[in-house]
């Protein structure tokens, strides 16, 4: 029997809109204004993209128009219908913006080498980036983030963040090129530019996830996962940009393929985790730590700290790369790897240390909550299940056993049950720590869901 007097909780969804949604709307509005300015400046100064805008823009404009229409109508509906309409509107507007930005990216970045080369570059970068996302998602051993959010984070990094920085970097570079002394000073200026602008653009994605998807943003581990996913997305688009650009530059000399291939190796193999993924993971770590801190002041310091480390790590690579010259012989191949290890390795090691600590901390507290839930005797978590639920390997073994006995359906049913049980434990943890901004009875709902999933009809 379920005790309905259980203290309410925020998960899964608050009925009232918390104040953080207002901040999220403000951040989103700033991003949209920046994107419009970016598109305008791209059109005027970088590439006019003649004729193409009207062609591919129609679909994007139509999606945004339809999304806006549904959004306006949503507010004249009752509360239950409003939520559905808001989701539909968000999806349509999001798709429209992503389509617009993606196509601008494709034309601006890839037309130099031609669509064929650009397509090949995309195809060779997809498996490596996909592998990176798979690894990053698996790092959260206790409660994996939903693929839809990981992919949204990566898409933001690839499309929105790259679009946000184009105009800022163009103006900064043009100003520096005409006013500074070429050499290390100019390099340092460019490195400050890349560190500040690119990390702010990528970090805004993590901040929005933190504000809007609080139910799936639990702690430092989740922050690192989302941050790294945004970084991998950014790295994906940047790799394509560099590969196509350098192909176009070097192909007349007959070494375009070599130049593009080197970029692929440097960015998609060697720099897959030792680069943007590491930098933005620090932003996520800061936000994830802030998620669990009690005071606003500490939250602010934690988030600012994440941004500072990310900017510093990014800056150090861009500014001091020239101090590690690579010889054009066989030893140069060793030097390339050593350079990455020496320059980015310490930052990557630091984020791994935070991750390991976070996973342990999360695991210990989940175990504590699983035990308490089992001791309450409400039926959602049985005492015998605690040992299995507390271990990723034990959970996997149990699912594989279910697969052998009942096939894929049994496997998936058990996976859903385990996931719901861990959600419940996570919910209890946040409630116990008073990390809830709107009191709700969601914990009871989660418990009901677990019991429903446990029933034979759910299998």
């Amino acid at each position: 029997m379920i005790n309905v007097t259980t203290p309410p909780a925020a998960n899964p969804h608050p009925r009232l809109r918390p104040s953080r949604y207002g901040i999220a709307i403000a951040v989103a509005a700033v991003v949209v204004v920046a994107l419009i300015a970016s598109s305008f400046l791209n059109y005027v100064y970088l590439d006019t993209i003649p004729g193409r805008a009207s062609l591919y823009g129609l679909l994007a404009v139509a999606l945004i128009a339809l999304g806006t229409y549904i959004l306006v109508r949503a507010f004249s509906r009752d509360r239950a219908m409003r939520r559905k309409h808001l989701i539909r509107a968000s999806v349509l507007i999001g798709l429209g913006v992503l389509l617009w930005l993606l196509l601008i990216d494709v034309f601006v970045f890839t037309q130099s080498a031609g669509p064929g080369v650009a397509a090949i570059c995309v195809l060779v970068c997809l498996p490596t980036t996909g592998f990176g996302l798979l690894v990053v998602r698996r790092m959260d051993r206790n409660e994996k983030e939903p693929w839809r959010l990981v992919l949204v984070a990566a898409a933001w990094g690839a499309i929105v963040a790259t679009s946000l920085v184009i105009w800022g970097e163009t103006i900064w570079e043009a100003t520096a090129q005409t006013s500074l002394v070429p050499g290390p000073g100019l390099d340092a200026s460019t490195a400050f530019m890349a560190g500040v602008l690119e990390e702010l653009a990528k970090g805004s994605a993590v901040v929005l996830l933190f504000l809007v998807m609080r139910d799936d943003f639990d702690d430092v581990v989740d922050g690192i996962v989302y941050g790294a996913a945004v970084g991998l997305g950014f790295n994906f688009m940047e790799s394509i940009t560099y590969m196509t650009n350098l192909y176009a530059i070097f192909q007349p000399e007959g070494i375009g393929g070599y130049a593009a291939g080197f970029q692929w190796y440097a960015r998609q193999v060697l720099g897959l985790f030792f680069g943007h993924a590491t930098y933005t993971a620090f932003i996520g770590a800061g936000i994830g730590i802030a998620r669990q801190l009690p005071s606003v002041r500490q939250k602010g310091f934690a988030i600012a700290s994440g941004f500072i480390v990310a900017i510093a790590a990014h800056f150090s690579w861009d500014a001091w790369l020239t101090f590690f010259p690579i010889q054009s012989n066989v030893f140069g191949l060793v030097e390339i790897h050593l350079r990455t290890l020496i320059m980015t390795g310490p930052f990557t090691a630091a984020i791994i240390a935070l991750l390991i600590f976070g996973v342990r901390f999360e695991g210990q507290n989940l175990l504590d909550q699983l035990r308490k839930e089992a001791a309450d005797g409400l039926g959602a978590i049985l005492p015998d299940e605690v040992r299995v639920l507390a271990s990723p390997w034990q959970r996997l073994k149990q699912r594989l056993r279910a697969l052998n006995q009942g096939g894929p359906r049994a496997y998936l049913a058990l996976a859903r049950l385990q996931s719901a049980q861990l959600d419940l434990a996570m919910e209890r943890w946040h409630r116990e720590r008073k990390e809830i901004d709107t009191p709700l009875d969601a914990e009871v709902q989660l418990r009901v869901r677990v019991i429903d999933l446990r029933s034979p009809t759910a299998r």
Binding site: F250, P252, S305, F315, S391
Partner: protein, 174 residues
């Protein structure tokens, strides 16, 4: 409890001591290191881009012209763009500079590499080097496309501290 990633023995103290504080302090330490890195970067920037270095001197770049490496002569009109198969050079009027300063002239390609240079020396010493060509990189047939920057710089203690004149030209891909 073999194979279990979550250690029971460590679980109990976690309830008593909030480990988020440890994470918070750790990221503050990392941020301190980050601030130091950025300060070093700022010092580096100021070292190579020292403030208050305006000497008042101004060099005159006569123009950027097509260049024939066999004769060492320039031809045609002053241009802002070149095909990658064309060779080009800047022409500097060193007489426009006062004596008593050390200067040089350099071409930088789009990657920031020096691809042509005259100097350093006193303006009078460089009077015979008015033409500063872009050198095709070793192993290549032509200049790489992109934006090329030509600067006449004032040198102090072996470091360029002021740009006395600047021209940017574009080398087209086609």
């Amino acid at each position: 409890m073999r194979g279990q990633s979550i250690r029971l023995s460590a679980a109990l103290p976690s309830v008593q001591y909030d480990q988020v504080r440890t994470l918070y302090r750790t990221i503050l330490v990392f941020a301190t290191v980050g601030v130091l890195v950025l300060i070093v970067g700022l010092v580096e920037f100021v070292h190579f881009e020292p403030p208050a270095q305006a000497s008042g001197a101004q060099a005159r770049i006569v123009g950027v012209y097509l260049f024939d490496p066999t004769t060492g002569a320039t031809s045609g009109s002053d241009q802002g763009q070149f095909a990658r198969t064309q060779q080009f050079a800047a022409v500097v009027d060193w007489s426009s500079l006062p004596g008593g300063i050390t200067v040089d002239a350099r071409w930088y390609d789009a990657f920031g590499d020096v691809v042509g240079r005259v100097g350093p020396g006193a303006p009078a010493q460089l009077a015979g080097h008015q033409v500063v060509p872009v050198v095709v990189p070793s192993g290549f047939h032509h200049s790489l496309p992109g934006s090329y920057t030509f600067v006449v710089e004032r040198i102090q203690d072996g470091i360029p501290v002021e740009v006395l004149a600047r021209r940017i030209v574009l080398v087209r891909r086609t």
